[in-house]
Every structure is written in C-alpha cells, then in structure tokens.
C-alpha cells in the first residue's frame, strides 16, 4: 500500500493565494496587463503617469471606503452632529448612546439570537447534508447516479422567488410559520455546496481510499478518516460562503416570521428603520453596524479563502 502524501489540491486554494500583496515595482517581472505593457518601452513609468495612477487608486479606494466610514462614524456621532450641514466628518466624541437607543427601541437582543441560531444551525445542516451527498456521488457505486446528480444540480436554475409562495404554504401547513424549523429547514438543501465538495472529493487519490478499504474500513470510516481530512480546506471555504449567505438572507425570514421576537437581524433592521425613520439616523446606523459588523469580521479574517471560493467558478472557465 503506497501512501503517497495527498496533495490537498483545492481548486480554490491556488486562486486564493493570488490576491496576496505583490511586491511593488521591483521592475523585473513586468505586469502582464495590457496597459502596463507600455512600461516595457522604458525602464520606468514617467512621473505624471505614476501620479495619475495614484490618484486613480486613491479615488477607487474612496468609492468603497467612504460609505463604510460614513456608516461607522455616523453610528457613533452625537445627534446634533448628524443633523448639521456642512456635514461633520469626524465625530467630536464617541456617542455609544446610539447603540443603546437602537438596542432598546427594537429587540436587537432577540434579533441577534435568532440570526446566530438560524445561521449556525442552518450552515451546519446544509454543509452536513452536502458532505453526505457529495461523498455518495464521488465514492458510492450506483448505476444512474449521475442522473440524480444532474437533477440536484439542476435545482441551481430555480430562482428563489419562484419557490417563495409555495414554500410559505408548505411551511404554513406544517405549522412551522414563525418557528426556527420554518426559518431553517427550507434552506438546507444545497446543490452549490454539494457541487463544490464533489469536485474536491473527485480529486482525492483513489489509492488512498482503496487502501483504507483493504484495511477493512467501511464507507463511514473512509469518509471520516480519509476523505474529509483531505477536503478540509474546501469544506471550510464552502462553510464560510454558506454562512455569509445565511446571515444575509432576507426574503425568506421576512415572510416566514410574523412577530418581532422571531425576526433575524436584517429583517429587524428594516423594521427599525421604518420605526425610527428619518428622524434618528444615529440609532439606525448603529443597528446597521450590528448587522454588518459580523460579516466584515468574518471577511477580514478569512478574505483569501472567501475570495478564492467565490471567484473560482468564474476563472476555471
């Protein structure tokens, strides 16, 4: 039995490496983009061109950063600095009262709890279910399984809005309206995560799996001790992508919940803004920060993996 070291060949990982900061202007490797080919005519970019590029980079940064800064700064601005013109760019003091106002004028504690529960349980179930089905398609022998595979992947073509109405009726008939099972269960079927994991599992060296089989390991043992550890990077990537989608989910929690104590954060935020409206942007922005911050944190902690996972589909062609 030859135990070749398994190369955890994730399709996403090589992509994820790429957005690493490149060492600036060493000059030796010429940038491969069309425009910068001009540089090959001379050793250096002329100074005006460099300045122009820096201005463009700064402008691009501002386009994305200014609204985010505006969000965070407004959330901690005292009220009188929000309702002034010319605008106050830097808050004179940190007014945390916006957060307490938001927290008391809407049950944000309940929203947060509901969001955490639906996201955590929903993600765990979706990934678990996706792992089982991906393993079945990759390793269990069954005639005609690719037909079943096509049926499952074909569900990717069903737009969310066409299932909305009937799912509402189904969940209502099951007596699940305004419950956690009603919030979570309709979303656990997963063609996308299954597809990602299936592609990864197909690359697991067959000798490894066969070796475990010869050693007497059943399917369950083979899955847990051989396949899953090799696929761990892709499982993590899929988990992150699913987790972000669940946290941000909007339309389903909107229609399936009917009382404030069952709402998730994005829905709660919508109701906060219609209650507080245009009169108290401070608390509304504080509420928005509460909704947005966890995803920003996840993104900054795992950005290479997330970007790699989300862009892999585009670049494999």
């Amino acid at each position: 039995m030859t135990l070749t070291t398994p190369r955890p060949a994730t399709p996403a990982a090589p992509r994820a490496d790429r957005p690493a900061p490149t060492s600036p202007g060493t000059g030796a490797p010429r940038s491969r983009s069309g425009r910068s080919r001009r540089r090959s005519t001379g050793p250096r970019r002329p100074l005006p061109a460099t300045i122009a590029l820096y201005v463009l980079v700064a402008f691009t940064f501002a386009v994305f950063a200014v609204p985010v800064y505006w969000l965070f700064s407004s959330a901690v601005k005292p009220e009188q600095e929000i309702y002034t013109f010319p605008l106050t760019w830097v808050p004179s003091e940190l007014a945390w009262s916006n957060f307490t106002d938001a927290w008391t004028s809407a049950p944000f504690g309940a929203f947060l709890k509901n969001s955490v529960i639906t996201t955590a349980v929903g993600t765990a179930l979706e990934i678990g279910v996706a792992i089982l089905s991906a393993y079945a398609f990759a390793f269990v022998k069954f005639r005609g399984k690719m037909l079943v595979f096509a049926v499952m992947v074909g569900s990717l073509m069903l737009p969310g809005h066409i299932t909305l109405l009937v799912n509402y009726i189904t969940v209502s008939n099951l007596g699940w309206l305004n419950t956690y099972q009603g919030l979570i269960l309709p979303g656990i079927g997963s063609a996308f995560a299954m597809f990602l994991l299936y592609q990864q599992m197909r690359q697991v060296p067959t000798e490894l799996v066969d070796a475990a089989m010869v050693d007497g390991a059943g399917h369950l043992r083979r899955m847990v001790t051989v396949v899953l550890p090799i696929c761990r990077p892709m499982i993590l990537t899929a988990t992150l992508i699913v987790l972000i989608a669940k946290w941000n989910d909007f339309v389903w929690p909107l229609i399936v919940t009917s009382t404030a104590d069952m709402r998730t954060l994005p829905i709660g935020l919508m109701f906060l803004r219609s209650q507080e409206g245009y009169d108290s942007w401070g608390p509304v922005m504080a509420g928005t920060v509460i909704v947005a911050l966890p995803m920003l944190a996840v993104f900054f902690l795992a950005q290479r993996r997330i970007i790699g996972g989300l862009t892999a589909g585009a670049l494999k062609g």
């Binding site: 910068s36 001009r38 022998k141 499952m152 737009p159 066409i162 947005a292 989300l310």
Partner: protein, 323 residues
Amino acid sequence: MAVLLPAVRRPRATTRATAGKVPRRRSAQRTRRTLREGLLFWALIAPNLTAIVVFGYYPTLYNFVLSFTEWDFVQPAPVLVGLENYLELFQPGSMLMEALSNTALFVLVAVVGTLVGGLAIGMLLAQRLPFTGLVRTMAFAPHMLPGAAIGVLWLFMFDPNYGLSRWLFGLLGMDSPHWTTTSDFSLWAIIIAYAWQRLGFVAIIYYTAILDLPKDVYEAAALDGARGWQLFRYLTVPLLSPVTFFLVVTGIIAAAQTFDIIATLTGGGPGTSSTTLPWMIYDQAFVDFNIGTSAATATVMFVLLLIVTLVQTRLANKQVHYS
C-alpha cells in the same frame, strides 16, 4: 460488509477463466453488494434530495398550477380561472409591464456599469502599485455585507438634507435629488446602491484574470509594434471574453433577483416606480394577497431567467478558448 469487499473483488478478475463453475454464489454476492451500495447511496443523498425536491422542484411546479388560479389565502382553496391572470398581466400599462421595464433597465445598467467599472478597476489594481492590496480588500468588502445593511446605509447617504448626497451635489453647486422619494430617481438609487455592492466583486475577478493573461502573446504583439490602446482593444478584451461572459450571465441572474436593497431603500415605490419582478412577486402575494397574480409573475420571471441560462449553455459550447 467492508471485510467482504476484497474477497468479492479478487474473484472478479478470474471470473472469465472459471466462468460457469460457481457463478450462482458469486453473482448472489455481487447482487447483495450492489444492493447494499445502492441503499447506502440513497441513504446518503436522501436528506439533500428531499430538501431540494420538497423546497425546490415541488414549489416550482405547484407555483405553475397556482398561476392559473385565484386565491387570497383566506378562501378554503384556490379557484381555477384559466389564463385570466396572464391575460391581465400582459395588458398594456399593467403592473407587470412596469415591473418588466424597471427590471430590464436595472439589469442592463447594473450589469454594464459594473462590467465597465470593474474592468477599469481590475486593470488599475493589476499595475502593481503599493497599497493596492488594501484597495482590493476594501473593494470586495461590500459584497459581503447584507443587502439590508447596504440599503439602509444608502438610504442615509441619499438623504437630501443630511446625507453625503447633499455634500457631493453641493460640490457641484447643485441640490441633491430626492433619491428615494421621487419616482424619477428611485430606480436609479437602487441601481447605484446595488452597483456599489457588486462592483468590487467584478473588479477582483477581472484583476485575477488579468494576472493570468499569457505574457508571451503580449510580447509577440509588442514586437509587432502594438501599443497601449491597441493591446487593450485587440488582446486584453478578447482574452478576457470568457470571464466577461461569465460575469454577464451571473450578473443578469443576480441583478434580476435583487430584493433586499429594494425592500430597505424604496419598498418598490414611490408608486410602482422602483417595482421590479421580485418585488412585485412579494408585494402581490404577501401584501395584496393576490396569490394567482404573484404566481403568474413568478412564472414569467422563471421563464425569462431560464432563457438566459439556456442561451448561456448554448453559447458556452461555442465559446472560444484562448488558453
């Protein structure tokens, strides 16, 4: 069962030589094994398959049936009305017509805008300047945010009295439009907020693809005397066309289904000025309780998106690959 496996496998290789001697036992064993594998297969995919069928395929089919009925959730059962919902929907000046034209404008501007902007930013980021790593992170971050948060944030930014919009238009010596409360601007407000969310994603995909472009082709073209704009127009753009194609298709599908930004920014209004297909489906079913109309609208949207997907599959087979 697992212990049996090697024993089952080995005789298989010698079956031909000993064919006909003890075929019964072996084939019985194999049948049992196939059966067990088959059962295991169904057991493993059952949870996922059930969820996909019950909450994916069945609703799509039943939604089609509901589109030929009239119902308000209160009557005991939907009443069949034939094609009536569709006939009403396709009347000139109907809400569907407005929703269709709003969706078309939204999708067109959002997709073209993010493609052009994303390509420009992608090219810029590929120039290997310092700090572009930070810009890449910042550009991608909005793509991670909940649409509801983006909608509410932009609602404040669009505020004509205390939002950034007043400052920006003030720089040009103009008054800020009342973005979300006048029907001339409401759809554009949604387009801007949506484009801000997606632009960084498109830019990062282009950026990564640009770094992947084959260097030798550019060197050959440079030897032939091609410069700047020519390289971009005759090399970069065609070489990136598979990526562009992907972004167009996924962009259409994503934009056509946008809901959370609309819900938080304008609620489809004022009037129906920013009502798109997804908002109309929601509004008809869960605000006005016109179940049949909502189902028929959803069917129209499904057919349109299906056409996009089919065109994609057909074109994808004809696509030119340069690598």
